[in-house]
Subunit: 183 residues, 2 copies
Amino acid sequence: MCQKGYEGTSMNDIAEAAGLTKAGIYHYIRGKEELLFEIMTYAMDNLEERVITPAQEITDPEQRLRKIVEGHINSLLEGVGAITIILEEMTALTAAHRRTIKARKRAYFEIIRQTLQELQAQGKLRDVDLTTATFSLLGMILWISRWYRRDGKLSAEQVLNDYVVIAMNGVLKAGGAVSKRQA
Amino acid sequence: MCQKGYEGTSMNDIAEAAGLTKAGIYHYIRGKEELLFEIMTYAMDNLEERVITPAQEITDPEQRLRKIVEGHINSLLEGVGAITIILEEMTALTAAHRRTIKARKRAYFEIIRQTLQELQAQGKLRDVDLTTATFSLLGMILWISRWYRRDGKLSAEQVLNDYVVIAMNGVLKAGGAVSKRQA
């Protein structure tokens, strides 16, 4: 599905990839849409477990933002990345499933926005709109799954460090500037 | 095609949207793939005319980068945006068409990367990899077409200004800091 796109993938392809007959695959999933929903749910569970929950334990908004940015980038670099592209296939979902996934994405968006709002209250945010800033961070981060190749020239560590520098300095004032992490 | 995605769009849909019969539409285009290629060509022509060519006349790399970022964002905000999503349907193209579009995207990427390299030589770029920085700018910018709605709360002017602040400060050192444009 990551290779062919949702529309381009048949139940035959799915059965073949799973090493099952077409009859066999229906024992596990009712159809393509259900599989799509399960993959999205898995991706959101992963994000929640690895990024959202740990970040929410951090009181300081600057550290929290850094944790979110780092955690999300890390999960993309490690290869859950391809799933991110699948997460955009919202129109293929049933209305009920779409509502569920949309609500989870929205909740994640709000956590970032809220963190930026706290930074704004502390005078650390640049003079930018909170919604625009949140989307610019998300766009920058989510795009990673479209270009980063683990067998390419850049190490995950390098990309992570550089992205954190660009993302944090993009939205935060120079006073609270972010430099490279100590290796 | 923007609404239904490339795979989800039939020649019937295209004929209907164009106010033609299915037989009539084949008078103008040979098929879906050709239309897709024409749309992508149009989007790249537009980018070239409005962003790349004017930017290349600017000698100072900081001003050139600003011109690219502003120009690209502006074209997305004005609604050529939906086309940007179509530009990702690379696998649907024939091999020859894919090579053509890929080369044009690559050329655009190289112009940004080259500009960042000149800024690096001037000591103005943050300590980040040129490829990573280029992709982070592109991701941030291209994502706009996925969330910005012209009938929403945020004006195009606001979004443009904030994005320029975030993008330029993300990659450039605080010394050459970028503040809001004078309205």
